[in-house]
């Protein structure tokens, strides 16, 4: 029915396929984001989050940010989420997978969320006038300018006709900082997640250490004996 109504309103040829794809990805992203909120089970939440993030990556592709999109897939979806799922499973015991929230909290959060959404939407509609996008040929997006910028050279601005004096410096320093940051985070996370605990020794350890106590006992016996002797001598 809807199709027919729709078809009566507009011809199929008028459909902007870019918009269709955008709507598709946007719908998946938003729906899954909402599903994350609504889901009770942590693993399912993670699953929806993956879908949402992947759909966002699709949006990035549509927006011409291919590198960012691939990065999103690789790091966010691939790395972060696996990490999360790990966490879920390391603590995978039934009572912890689903911790219920009280319904009053839900209502409250819903209201607050709605208010925030209203504010954000209002901003979204008001800040940016609804412009028609450029239909003229745009330079094909490439990863090269990003790479150059990360190395400290702005290749895009001169290309865009920015006067030489106004070309800003690249992102070498932030890039390095982020690199160091990641390293520190890795080390820190590994350190934080450690736990001390008693561990049943392996058989090999037992075999190795079985010699130890015996010897010490023997030595102890010997030393006490010698103490006795020397004491007697004195």
């Amino acid at each position: 029915m809807m199709t027919t109504v729709l078809a009566s309103v507009m011809p199929v040829a008028a459909i902007n396929w870019h918009s269709v794809l955008f709507l598709l990805f946007a719908a998946v992203a938003c729906a899954c984001a909402v599903a994350v909120v609504l889901a009770e089970n942590v693993v399912r939440m993670a699953f929806y989050l993956v879908l949402s993030l992947a759909a966002t990556a699709g949006l990035f592709f549509l927006a011409g940010a291919e590198f960012v999109g691939a990065m999103q897939l690789m790091i966010y979806v691939g790395g972060t989420l696996v990490l999360l799922v790990f966490g879920v499973m390391l603590t995978a015991q039934a009572p912890f997978v689903a911790i219920k929230t009280s319904s009053s909290d839900r209502v409250l959060a819903g209201m607050v969320g709605a208010a925030l959404l209203a504010v954000l939407l209002q901003a979204a509609f008001r800040v940016e006038p609804w412009r028609r996008p450029a239909t003229a040929a745009v330079a094909a997006p490439a990863a090269t300018p990003i790479g150059m910028a990360l190395l400290g050279v702005r290749a895009d601005e001169p290309a865009a006709g920015v006067p030489a004096a106004a070309v800003r410096s690249g992102y070498l320093l932030p890039f390095e900082i982020v690199s160091i940051h990641l390293l520190v985070v890795l080390v820190g996370a590994a350190y934080l997640a450690r736990a001390k605990r008693r561990r049943t020794p392996r058989a090999i350890d037992v075999a190795a250490s079985s010699v130890g106590p015996v010897v010490t006992a023997r030595q102890a016996a010997r030393s006490s004996a010698s103490a006795l002797v020397s004491g007697g001598g004195r």
Binding site: D105, V112, A164
Partner: protein, 815 residues
């Protein structure tokens, strides 16, 4: 690019040993391999670069600037002429009209930047390169000698492979220091040292030079203080470092003068691709000081003139208030006038002298040469490296590199300093008995030679001597190391007759001695030192002819040659000739292992041949000539400080009369020195003891090294102590008392205050605290510890803020 890699190879080794040194084999045994491999890599790459350079810029036999156009068909003859000992150069003697040729001649040089460290305003700090024939040559020399020394050191330092008991360090309990070996650490420092030196060589700007300059300094500190448990070693290291800092301070002043006035520290013009794609060329120091427009003649750069005349510029700017372009135009129009008034030349002089100050420190020139002999406290390979190829060479190299910017005044200063150094060091070397000290003072003396040569305009002569000296001095040091290794003593008086037990060492050392005194058959052939020393003498003679008032310089050189010959052969005779003086020493003496002898032989061969010019003109001298800075091959006259000084063009020294005189002088003085030494120490016609006794005061003056250490002690150290004790006395006697008094009265006041405090203020404060406490108790309930509520608060707050703001400042936020 090859040189860049060659430069970085020791860095790689340094980093590798730094991190993995202790794990490299037993006690880091393989560190030597890593370091040697790195330096060999450097050597190979340098040789490759050398080859590339030669293929791109074939060395021509003509050493006299721009005549090859006019005398293209005379090349073969020239080559023969040079082979024959520069016999005939008359045909070049009369070139009145080569100014325009000279103007056109610019040395082949490449420069550029690898990486821009910082760019802001005019200042552009880069890691860059400036490569000409000199750089390439020095790369080969440095890496080659460093390679020899690495190989040698891997044998010499084997003691460090296991735990070492240092018998020279006495602990409080009477025992000797026992410490783990530091083999990898040594090679680590050695690698860094080579890296720094190569960095200086390749540097494309003064800032980079300065960075590596300091790195060389710190490396020398590491290496000289390698046995840092020994007090003498650590003191020597500190001394070397501090004395160098004194020189570096001057260098910093020079740097600031240059940068402040000219805004660039690059040697060469640098071309930077501007953002709009066009290439913007910033002139470097060389082209600023010797602009091509002016026929590469030296002039005070515009920037420096304007800088020196800042008041006037400011006034002009004020006149043209609001029209900076006009102001600039007017300044530009008037600069030539100012320049002719001599404005700014002081600045250039200061810059030159400042830079030279650094070189004084690094190249151990008077008055900062005192550190070099003490640096003998380091292991011998280090001495060899420091003395021949790296540290001291850095100073001469920098003067050579910086030569175009130096005014005749500065050159004169350099020449004088060089002459003084040359003489003082040579005299001290006469009486020193420590084999390494003799060599050390000989180094200082030879450095004085080089400086003097540069100062009197013998650019290529000085650098030529630097190269040849690098070979034979490292040879001499390694030989002495070999001797010390065998005899376990440094004292020459205990040696003697070693030639029989250590034939290789003796032979190679003899070659080194002959090379350093410039032995050769006049006008026919000679060892490497023969050519370089002749060139210096000739140039000094030429200079003294041009400036009769400064002819003392020539005599200093000639006298120095005599002294050199004397003390070098004194050393050789005392060590190797005659009969053993101390049987304990010679009994255990033995030839060194192959790994130590091999570098000796290689170096001795080079010490012989390094000065030769092959048929066809290939030779180090010509190669250096290729890098001659633009505009320095003419006779130039100038100076305001010491009257007019004429720096004669270097090729003038090749003129027959000058050259013949110089050669004969050199030969005569050297022969006289050798004969005297032989007379005293070999044939024993004249007893050294008697001579020493006869000239007792002079002997003890020399033996105490001109009392320089005592002088410095008296001038600088003692006063510093005195000032310090005065300060501390003032502190204790006056200031402390004063403060005590203040404290006492403050105490009384405080007693009063305490009463007020307790009764009045505390009551108020307590009331406030109670109120705060109660408020806190109430507010505590808000902080539930529940993250989720906090999130909620934040969101509500944000929304509320936004709503509030959009109601109040509708326009501001909604837009």
């Amino acid at each position: 690019m090859l040189l860049g890699l060659a430069w970085l190879a020791p860095l790689v080794s340094f980093v590798a040993i730094l991190f993995f040194g202790p794990r490299m084999g037993h006690h880091g045994k393989n560190a030597a391999w890593v370091a040697t491999a790195a330096i060999v890599t450097s050597l190979v790459l340098s040789l490759a670069a050398f080859g590339t350079w030669l293929s791109a810029h074939p060395v021509k036999a003509v050493s006299h600037g721009a005549h090859h156009g006019a005398h293209a068909d005379g090349h073969a003859a020239d080559a023969h002429a040079e082979q024959g000992g520069h016999a005939e150069h008359a045909e070049h003697a009369d070139h009145g009209d080569h100014a325009e040729h000279h103007a056109a001649r610019v040395p082949a040089a490449y420069s550029g930047d690898w990486y821009t460290l910082y760019q802001g305003g005019d200042l552009r700090l880069t890691i860059g390169w400036y490569i000409d024939a000199l750089t390439v040559l020095m790369f080969v020399v440095v890496t080659f000698i460093a390679t020899c020394i690495h190989v040698y050191a891997s044998g010499y330092m084997h003691d460090e492979l296991h735990d070492v008991t240092d018998h020279e360090v006495h602990l409080s309990d009477g025992g000797h220091l026992h410490r783990p070996g530091r083999f990898p650490r040594f090679f680590q420092a050695l690698s860094l040292f080579c890296f720094s030196m190569l960095g200086i060589l390749i540097a494309g700007n003064l800032a980079m030079v300065f960075i590596f300059w300091e790195l060389v300094g710190i490396c020398s500190w590491f290496l000289i203080g390698f046995y840092f448990e020994r007090k003498s070693a650590s003191t020597a290291a500190n001394k070397a470092f501090i004395v160098n800092r004194v020189g570096d301070f001057g260098m910093l002043i020079g740097l600031m003068a240059l940068w402040g006035a000219l805004g660039t520290l690059h040697f060469a013009d640098s071309t930077v691709a501007a953002a709009d794609g066009s290439a913007v060329t910033t002139p470097g120091l060389f082209s600023l000081v010797r602009p091509a427009a002016n026929g590469h003649a030296l002039q005070v750069p515009d920037g420096m003139v304007a800088f020196a005349n800042a008041d006037e510029v400011g006034r002009i700017a004020a006149e043209h208030n609001g029209r900076p372009r006009d102001a600039a135009d007017e300044v530009a129009a008037r600069i030539d006038g100012w320049r002719s008034q001599g404005i700014g030349r002081w600045l250039l002089f200061i810059a030159g002298v400042g830079i030279f100050c650094g070189c004084v420190g690094k190249s151990a020139q008077f008055p900062l040469f005192v550190w070099l002999p003490d640096a003998m406290e380091g292991p011998t390979p280090v001495s060899a490296l420091v003395h021949s190829a790296t540290m001291v060479a850095a100073g001469v190299y920098l003067v050579g590199r910086f030569y175009p910017v130096l005014t005749p005044d500065v050159l004169l200063v350099i020449a004088i300093i060089g002459g003084i150094t040359l003489f003082i060091a040579a005299t001290i070397a006469l009486v020193a008995n420590d084999i390494k000290r003799v060599l050390a003072y000989s180094t200082v003396s030879q450095l004085g030679y080089m400086m003097l040569a540069l100062g009197v305009g013998g650019w290529s002569a000085g650098l030529f001597h630097l190269v040849t000296h690098a070979f034979f001095k490292s040879l001499l040091f390694l030989c002495s190391g070999s001797v010390i290794h065998a005899c376990h003593t440094n004292d020459m008086r205990k040696m003697g007759g070693l030639a029989r037990v250590m034939p290789w060492t003796a032979g190679t050392m003899l070659v080194g001695c002959l090379a350093i005194i410039g032995a050769g058959i006049p006008f026919v052939i000679g060892l490497s030192g023969y050519y370089s020393k002749d060139a210096i003498l000739a140039q000094a003679l030429s200079y003294s002819q041009a400036n009769p008032s400064w002819s003392i310089l020539y005599y200093a050189v000639a006298g120095g040659a005599f002294l050199t010959a004397f003390y070098m052969f004194r050393l050789w005779f005392m060590t190797f000739a005659g009969t053993p003086r101390d049987h304990h020493v010679t009994e255990h003496a033995h030839e060194s292992p192959t790994v130590m002898v091999a570098p000796l032989v290689v170096l001795s061969v080079l010490a012989v041949v390094a000065g030769w010019t092959l048929p066809g003109g290939f030779g180090i001298a010509n190669l250096i000539e290729q890098a001659r800075p633009a505009g320095t091959d003419t006779t130039s006259t100038g100076g305001f400080l010491f009257g007019t000084v004429t720096v004669p063009a270097e090729h003038l020294s090749h003129e027959g009369s000058v050259h013949v005189t110089a050669t004969l002088t050199a030969f005569a003085t050297a022969a006289a020195g050798v004969l005297l030494a032989a007379a005293m120490y070999l044939w024993r016609i004249v007893s050294p003891t008697v001579v020493a006794y006869t000239f007792r005061p002079i002997y003890s003056f020399l033996a105490h090294r001109w009392y320089f250490d005592e002088l410095y002690d008296a001038i600088f150290v003692r006063p510093a102590f005195a000032v310090a004790s005065l300060a501390s006395g003032t502190d204790r006697g006056v200031i402390d008392k004063l403060i005590d008094g203040i404290a006492w009265s403050a105490r009384q006041l405080a007693g009063l205050d305490a009463w007020i405090d307790r009764n009045l203020v505390d009551g108020l404060v307590n009331a406030t605290a109670t109120a705060t406490w109660n408020a806190g108790l109430e507010l505590k309930k808000l902080q539930t510890g529940r993250l989720r509520q906090y999130v909620m608060f934040i969101v509500v707050g944000t929304v509320a803020l936004f709503v509030l703001a959009s109601m109040l400042f509708r326009a501001a936020l909604a837009g």
